[in-house]
Amino acid sequence: MSETRVVIDPVSRVEGHGKVTLLVNDAGIVTQARLHIVEFRGFEKFIQGRPYWELPMVVQRLCGICPVSHHLVAAKAIDQIVGVTALSAPALKLRRLMHFAQVLQSHALHFFHLASPDLLFGFQSPVEQRNIVAVIKQQPQIAIKGVKIRKFGQQILEAISGKRIHGMAAIPGGMNAPLTPEKIQPFKQDVQQIIDWCEETVKLSRQLTDQNRDFHLQFGLIESPFMGLVGKNGELELYDGNLRVIDARGNILQDQFPCDQYPQLIQEQVKSWSYMKFPFLTQLGSEQGWYRVGPLARINLCDFIPTPRAEQARQQFRQYAGAPAHSPLLFHWARMIEALHCAEAIADLLADPDLLSTDLQRSGIKQKEGIGVIEAPRGTLFHHYQIDAEDRVTMANLIVSTTSNNQAMNDTIRKVAQQHLDGQTLTPELLNLVEVAIRAYDPCLSCATHAVGKMPLQLLLQTESGNSLDQLTRHTDGHISR
C-alpha cells in the first residue's frame, strides 16, 4: 500500500524551526506523524571546554521562556561538582522562590498568551482572532489577569536575579545576593490577588473544558506512562525530590528513584529524521517505553499538593478527569493548578525572614561529575556534566522536557490528524488543530496563528515519491494561498 506524505513546514517558534509530516495510506488513514526539529542547537557540544562555573549562565540561553529552569538545574549539577550536598537554608529558599516565580510566569504565558485564544474563541475561529491581542480586545478581564500574573512572576525574578530574563543569581554552592525588605514588600501586597486570579483561572479551565467536554477529552487522546519529581512524602515537588513513574493505568512503576541514577531509568534513541532524541523508560523498552512529563504528568502522579487551594483544585480535577487523566488538552487545566500552587508557595516564602539572610554559600570537595534534575514548566529537565582536572567541561547531556514529550507529541499529532484530516484535502483548520495539539505540551512549539508578528507556515501534501499533490501556505502578512 502506498503512502501519501503531508508536510507542515515550518512549525514556527520551535526554538527556531520545525515541521510536521503526516504519512497517509491509500485508505486516507494517517499511519504516522513526525514532528521534526530541523534546527541543531548544539549546546551540549559547544559548552565543552568551558569552565564549569559558567554553565548556569551559558545554558539558560537555551530558552527565553524558561531560562530560570536551565539556570537552576545547571546550578544544582554544579553544586555537586563543587562538593556541596546541601545548600544553606536561605539559599535554598531563594532558589525555590525563583523557581516558583519562573513556573508561575511561564504557565501564565502558556495559558493566557498562547493557548487561551484557542480555548476562548474555539479551534475553528478565524486566524485574525487567534492571538493575545484579540483576547485583550474581546476578553480584557481575562487577558489583563494573565498579563499581571506573568508580570508578578517576572518581577520576582528581576528582584532576585537582576533581570526578568537571563538574570544572574545561582552560583556554585548557593546564591549571590539576598533579597531586601524593600524588594519584598510590593510582592507581599500583591500576592493574595495573584492567588485569587490563579484560582479563578483554574475554574475557567474547568468551565472551558465543560463547555465542549467530549471534544476536549477526546482531542488527540493517547495514553502513556508519566514521569516527574515528587517529594519524600509523594507531594508535588518542582525544585527537588526524587523521580516517580506511573503507567497508563496509574500504577507506580518507580518511586523515589534517585535523580543521579537517571541513566538507569531512561535511555535516549536517535531517529534519522529529527535532531530531537526519543527518550524511553529502560524497563519498558524503546517501543513501549515512551512517557509524558509536564503539568499533567505531575498532577497525575503526585499524592497531594502541599498548598491548600491547589490541593483542593487537584482533587476536583481528579474527580472530573480521572486518575490518571490522559487528554492532551487537560495539560492546560493541570498547568493552572500548578500556577495556583506556585502563587501560594510564593506567599509562604515571602513571609520567611531567611530571604534576607546573607548565609548564601557553601563549599566542599571538588567532584568530577554533577547531575541536576528539576521540574521545568514543561516537565522534568536533566542536566548532566563531567569536568576534567583543569575544571573544563568534557561532557554534557541535557534532556529537556520537550525531548521527553517527543514521542507523545508525535502520537498526539497522529491522533488529531486521524480525527480531523478529511481525505487528502489540506485545510487551514487542520493546520491549526495540529498546532493546538503541539501547543498543549509546549509553547516553544507554538505556531504562527498565535504570533503577534505573523509567522509563515507551509502545509504540503505529497506522495511518497515526492510528487506534490496540494500545498497551503500562510504568509508573513497572514493571508493564506494555495
Partner: protein
C-alpha cells in the same frame, strides 16, 4: 617662580609635569581618554590604539606621546570616536567576546567601551578562534579566546610582581597568549592569585576560579556609570598584594 606647563585637550587646559605623557597628564587632570592597554604605573604599550588623539592633523596614541607645552590635542571628535569604535569592533571580531554569559559582563572594559562608543553590532566578520583554554592553575583560568593582546598581564607580572609569567606568540590571527614555562601551562609559572597580574586583565581572559558571578546585576562596575565617567577599573583590583 615658573609658569605652569600646560597643553590643551579639546581646548581645555591640562597641566603636566615634564616627562608625563598626554594620557598621564589627562588622567591626573580628571579627563578621560578611552584606552585599554594603558595602566598607570606600567610602561606604556601603545598597542590597543584606542587612545588615539589628533595633533596637527596626525593621529597619535595618547599613552605614548609626551606632553608638550601649548600642544593642541583633539580627542572627542566625531572622526576619532568612529575610529575608536571600529578598533573595538575589530577586537570583538578577533576574539570570542560573548557578553551574555561572560562572567566579567558589567565589569569588562572592552564591553564598557563598546557601549560608550556606540557599538551596536558586529561590523566585521568574527574570526571565531578556537584556542585551548588553560585551567591548569589551581586558582586561575585562562580563557584564550578573550585575550586582546594588551599585555597588561605581561607587564604587570614583570614590573609589579617581578615574575616572568606571560608572553605573546604567533602572528596575525594566530597570535596567542602563552605561559612562560616549558610546558606552556600556567600551573608551571610562579603566578599566584594574589599577584597584580592576576587582577589586571581588562577583559575576561585571566579569570579567578573562585568568586565568579558574585556581584549582582546592578552593582557591577559599569552598571551605574559609563566608562568615561567611571574610568578603567576592575572590581577586584584592590585584592592584589601591594
Amino acid at each position: 617662580m615658573t609658569d605652569t606647563l600646560q597643553f590643551f585637550i579639546d581646548q581645555q587646559a591640562v597641566p603636566f609635569q615634564p616627562g608625563q605623557t598626554l594620557m598621564q597628564a589627562a588622567q591626573a587632570a580628571g579627563l578621560y581618554i578611552p584606552h585599554l592597554c594603558f595602566h598607570d604605573g606600567l610602561t606604556p604599550h601603545g598597542s590597543c590604539r584606542v587612545c588615539i588623539v589628533e595633533i596637527n592633523g596626525s593621529i597619535r596614541a595618547a599613552c605614548t606621546t609626551p606632553a608638550t607645552a601649548n600642544l593642541q590635542v583633539h580627542s572627542e571628535t566625531s572622526a576619532l570616536r568612529t575610529q575608536r569604535r571600529q578598533l573595538i569592533e575589530l577586537l570583538f571580531a578577533e576574539g570570542n567576546h560573548l557578553c551574555p554569559s561572560c562572567e566579567v559582563s558589567g565589569n569588562c572594559q572592552l564591553q564598557a567601551l563598546a557601549y560608550d562608543l556606540g557599538m551596536t553590532h558586529y561590523e566585521f566578520v568574527p574570526l571565531d578562534p578556537h584556542r585551548q583554554n588553560d585551567g591548569s592553575h589551581p586558582d586561575l583560568f585562562i580563557e584564550q579566546d578573550r585575550c586582546i593582546f594588551c599585555e597588561l598581564c605581561t607587564r604587570s607580572a614583570q614590573q609589579q610582581d617581578h615574575k616572568n609569567v606571560f608572553g605573546i606568540g604567533g602572528r596575525g590571527a594566530d597570535t596567542y597568549l602563552f605561559a612562560q614555562a616549558d610546558s606552556s601551562r600556567l600551573a608551571d609559572t610562579a603566578i599566584t592569585a594574589q599577584d597584580h597580574a592576576a587582577h589586571i586583565c581588562p577583559v575576561g581572559c585571566i579569570l579567578p576560579k573562585q568568586g565568579s558571578y558574585q556581584i549582582p546585576i546592578g552593582q557591577r562596575v559599569y552598571d551605574e556609570q559609563p566608562i568615561h565617567l567611571r574610568g578603567n577599573h576592575r572590581p577586584d583590583e584592590q585584592d592584589a598584594t601591594p
